[in-house]
Amino acid sequence: MSEELQEALNLAGDAVSRAADGTVQLVGSECGECGKNVFPPTDVCPQCMSENLSSRKLSAQGKLYSWSVVHAAPKGWDLPFIAAYVDLPEEVRVFAHIVDADPEALEMEMPVEARIAVLGSDESGTAIESYAFTPVTKGDS
């Protein structure tokens, strides 16, 4: 089918990495001078202004800080969607969609795991995908 052949638009660019085993990790920057971690990747450190930064893969799992089921948003997003902030162990908080989840079953601080998901589509119908998180099911964690 043509839909499968059509490549999705990736919103995250080089801010996400997908391993051969399917593991998805967000990619940020780590400052070579002061050690600060930043997401998304940047060319300059917001702590010490150094440009000595390297790519840094972040943990695939984090904890849910808060969320909202969003019913109104600009065109293109699949509605409703779950917007959330996820805290990664590297002292980084990430805004992300929560996918494959029952909103009623979400809990504060629950473990969530990164994956790639389709979040909407552009005007020409091309799928828009990016990183997202999903609750870790028992046995996974």
């Binding site: 909202s68 089921v69 019913h71 109104a72 948003a73 902030y85 002292e91 908080r93 805004f95 979040l119």
Partner: protein, 379 residues
């Protein structure tokens, strides 16, 4: 720095004026402020015009209608705090003795975008991933509910109070009361926030004339003194942060109270940035009107209604008066001026001597808010 006073105030009713230009929306507010001040237009030495999305040289386009030109006209953008920032900049110039009399305008025409949520900056990472302002406030609300036991009823009651006040304000966009049940039954926007938890989109303008306290008496019988003016940007935080605690408002309020030499207990009324109902509760605490976690109780006890200890948003606030974003900061100041003069009829806060305005805005990833401006006024 010299003492500064407000000698004239004006605004147009907030609403939808799609068929009018930005300049035609705004000039009646400016004319009203200038006439209220009783100042000759040639005595105005500079103008600061706040607008977020009004387009290039909004101030010039407005002022040419009234022939107030050939003076410095400075257009200021700071999202929802655009005109409160403009006020702060104007205040600096008068306080520092650069000018004696300055006009401040706030203006916005949101109907030009044809409705929906406010257009945010697409280059922002979180916006590019779907963050909208209601969702940001909704996540604050959910976390606050989790940590402090706030209920959906409590949040709805903010809207109920706002609408009640708005009924008494001829300049308000909404002038009809709503019940808690109606709020909770309104269309979901970003769970737990419903439509009636969100300020409406619209158009509007407001203006004030300020001058040195020394010269104020020559223009106005009742100049309103500016006893403190503060502005800040948020602190960029890439890591964990407490989203139930608006750091920029907390920091700004602390700084302002110190500068003005008064405390929250000295404030008689406040106009705060209730763009979404949950926000007003967070700001009760950040502005020191109650302790952390006690906001819902303060509201339930009626203390923030007209007639209470510290009436908040007697104008109806953003939820009821409306929020044409660049106009809001100056419109808040117009309300405080009218309250301190005792001109507010049914919504009058009796005996009000000290008023506060609080305006904060902007969705930029990593900031609590991009900007916050707080002012204190006294008669």
């Amino acid at each position: 720095m010299r003492d500064v006073a407000i000698v004239g105030a004006g605004m147009v009713p907030f609403g939808k004026y799609q068929e009018k230009t930005l300049a035609d929306i705004a000039w009646p507010a400016v004319k009203q402020a200038v006439e209220d001040a009783g100042i000759k237009k040639t005595d105005i030495e500079a103008t600061y015009c706040g607008t977020a999305l009004g387009g290039m040289m909004s101030g010039q386009r407005i002022l040419k209608k009234l022939g107030i030109t050939g003076l410095p006209i400075i257009n200021i953008e700071n999202a929802c705090s655009s005109s409160s920032t403009a006020f702060r900049e104007a205040w600096i110039t008068v306080a520092a003795g650069v000018y004696d009399a300055v006009l401040v305008i706030g203006v916005e025409k949101l109907t030009k975008f044809g409705g929906g949520t406010l257009p945010l900056e697409k280059e922002d990472w979180e916006v590019s991933h779907g963050l909208v302002m209601p969702a940001l406030y909704a996540m604050r609300a959910r976390r606050y509910m989790h940590e402090y036991g706030l209920t959906e009823n409590d949040i709805a009651d903010v809207s109920v109070k706002a609408r009640k006040h708005g009924v008494w304000n001829e300049d308000a966009q909404f002038r009809k009361e709503v019940t808690r049940e109606e709020v909770l039954a309104s269309r979901p926007v970003a769970d737990p926030l419903k439509l009636f938890h969100c300020c409406p989109s619209g158009d509007g303008a407001a203006a004030v004339v300020i001058c040195s306290a020394e010269k104020a008496k020559q223009y106005s019988a009742e100049p309103i003194r500016v006893i403190g003016s503060e502005i800040n940007s948020g602190k960029y935080m890439t890591g964990y942060r407490d989203m139930t605690s608006p750091e920029i408002t907390l920091r700004g309020a602390k700084q302002l109270y110190e500068e003005a030499g008064i405390g929250p207990e000295d404030v008689d009324l406040a106009e705060v940035h209730d763009a979404f109902a949950i926000a007003e509760l967070l700001y009760y605490e950040a502005l020191g009107f109650c302790a952390k976690g006690d906001a819902a109780k303060l509201l339930a006890d009626g203390e923030t209604s007209v007639g209470g200890k510290i009436p908040v948003n007697p104008s109806g606030g953003l939820l009821s008066k409306g929020h044409p974003i660049g106009s809001t900061g100056v419109a808040q100041i117009v309300e405080i001026v009218r309250q301190l003069r005792g001109q507010c009829g049914q919504r009058q806060v009796e005996g009000a001597k000290v008023g506060l305005t609080h305006c904060t805005g902007g969705g930029v990833s990593g900031f609590d808010h991009g900007v916050c401006s707080i002012n204190l006024f006294a008669r």
